[in-house]
Symmetry: C2
Amino acid sequence: MKDKTFLMIPGPTPVPESVLLDMAKHPIGHRSSEFSKILESVYSDLKYVFQTKNDVLVYTASGTGAMDAALSNLINPKDKVLSLVIGNFGQRWAKIAKALGADVETIEVEPGKAIDPAVLKARLDKDINKEIKIVTLTHNETSTGVTNDIKTLVSYIREHGALSVVDGVTSLSAITCKMDEWGIDVLVSGSQKGFMIPPGLSFLAASDRAWEVQKKCERPDFYFNWETNRKSVIANSTAFTPAVNLFVGLKTALEMIKAEGLEKIIERHTKIAKGLRVALKAINLKLFVEDETIASTTITAVYPPENITVPDIRRILKNDYDIEVANGQNQLKDKIFRIGTLGFVSERDAITAVGSLEATLHKLGHKFELGKGVAALIEYLNK
Amino acid sequence: MKDKTFLMIPGPTPVPESVLLDMAKHPIGHRSSEFSKILESVYSDLKYVFQTKNDVLVYTASGTGAMDAALSNLINPKDKVLSLVIGNFGQRWAKIAKALGADVETIEVEPGKAIDPAVLKARLDKDINKEIKIVTLTHNETSTGVTNDIKTLVSYIREHGALSVVDGVTSLSAITCKMDEWGIDVLVSGSQKGFMIPPGLSFLAASDRAWEVQKKCERPDFYFNWETNRKSVIANSTAFTPAVNLFVGLKTALEMIKAEGLEKIIERHTKIAKGLRVALKAINLKLFVEDETIASTTITAVYPPENITVPDIRRILKNDYDIEVANGQNQLKDKIFRIGTLGFVSERDAITAVGSLEATLHKLGHKFELGKGVAALIEYLNK
């Protein structure tokens, strides 16, 4: 049906109607006192979500823009960067670092696995001359639905002395991430995920140590320059014309986040994702990530049943039930599909998704006891 | 009054309600076939506005992002760049080029003046060793309300052999700008101006010659990389998650632009701005740019009357009449105010602005014959 599509992809994610309506207001001047008040509120609330006392810079750009901003303010050509790669978005860090002329080494694991902290520790221990300047990490890998143990990984990086640069695009405001307490040096995220607004804004915060390294960056990118952007944050302003309407929506979304509270939000995500996993198994689907300790609570990757294709599942889910789920990326295309339960997602949405998936698989001839998925989900949610 | 503010600043500019309502729809998946259709339409219509056969890249970023994208794909450190500076935005080109390590020379004129083509020609003629690789220009200088004679300037640059890189942020879809016919090498613009949508998207098109130079760029920025972004344009896709809602609005706005027609739109801007100038003079205001041949038809800068301050004018216009006009920038702050008549602006808006300005100046004790401005404007518009 027209206008009925419900997004259960890893992003964009559903947006509350109050946010959408705020975004539909006429834009206001970005140098006006009204807009400055909106910025003041946004900048303050972002610190809460980032769990940091550092300033959070906001770029009018997608999440990759903030990733570019992170490295293009730190790397000088030939700097040694260690990229921990557990999927496409981990790979993206390595690509950005290479584009900046860095000497990039990767530790890569097969899709569906997380980085073993012991492997990182061994590599860092070997680096007795402290050649590694930066380690890039992905908190929650969107392409596979795996969450790294950032807390432990970052603690090893801290011990070594390199900077940790963390992609929190699909984790912030959904999965526990304590920037200051864990000692993360640079943390980035994007608007169209846990922040519950459409894509177009991205965020970056940096530790004092990272700011020191930034000072030594020979050619920080002009648009993404941390220093210029921080000056504007401190002045409740923006360095360049911002996506005004998205900021207006962000203010409302952050107020919703504060009202619900980070802990409750994280609990909600955990409960829904775990319930979804139970339900998927109950209808004889195989999860891509079986290890509960690393399975993402925002994105769940699933194998299609034998003899049923991912495109068929996605097509019927979309055409008949107006639900969009994501295909696998690159080498995982058509091998898995991914269900996002990120941001503005409720238990009802999980029930809707599982019910509609049952209906879809039933049409496609998958063998399972109809209703079992919804039943398992409800039992899990209500226990 | 709440919700009544009317923007007559150089940007953001007023947005049609149909665009605002389109933007308020739930975001759709950026990898969906529906979104691909929107992109197809947008990419095609942008060529019309740019008057080019080249692909127009769209960045989720503000106009400065596209300026950064222009130079960070062309400049290698120590390249010689000539920046023609007639105000802050001309200066911005020079700053970006410097941040990229270029050897930057500027030709600067005092605020309110345009570049004399003969001066450029003389400088280029002197460059017998063809050391100058890039010349940056501003089509319409937002900070002063001056329009450069881009056609002539670009023709000299063409003769010399350097690349012309033109800021069309406040000119495209408002002031005649024929990319291919005039031989512009790189042309950038932003969404919140003539394109009639809120800020957050920016545009870039490059000539075949510029694409050749891009290939030799050692370290093009990752996010702004032309090649990656062009591949996506050709596939009716985007390289990274785009500001989906803004694209949906842009599609509608571009359809409005096509329906009205570029020539008619340019005529409308010219008529309104010229009428405004006549009206301002009729109420004894002094224009910052007196020379009609270089006065912008999208932004009009005005001196306040003696003994009346710019902040007072802006405050009363805003508080009592809900109209926002811009202050001067940097050294021109409080010395001039700037009225934008850019994008979704009608004759009625001009009448509103002049009438409200009369009311404001009347309150502030300015000496003029009340009604004269509106009368002069109407006479001009109706003749």
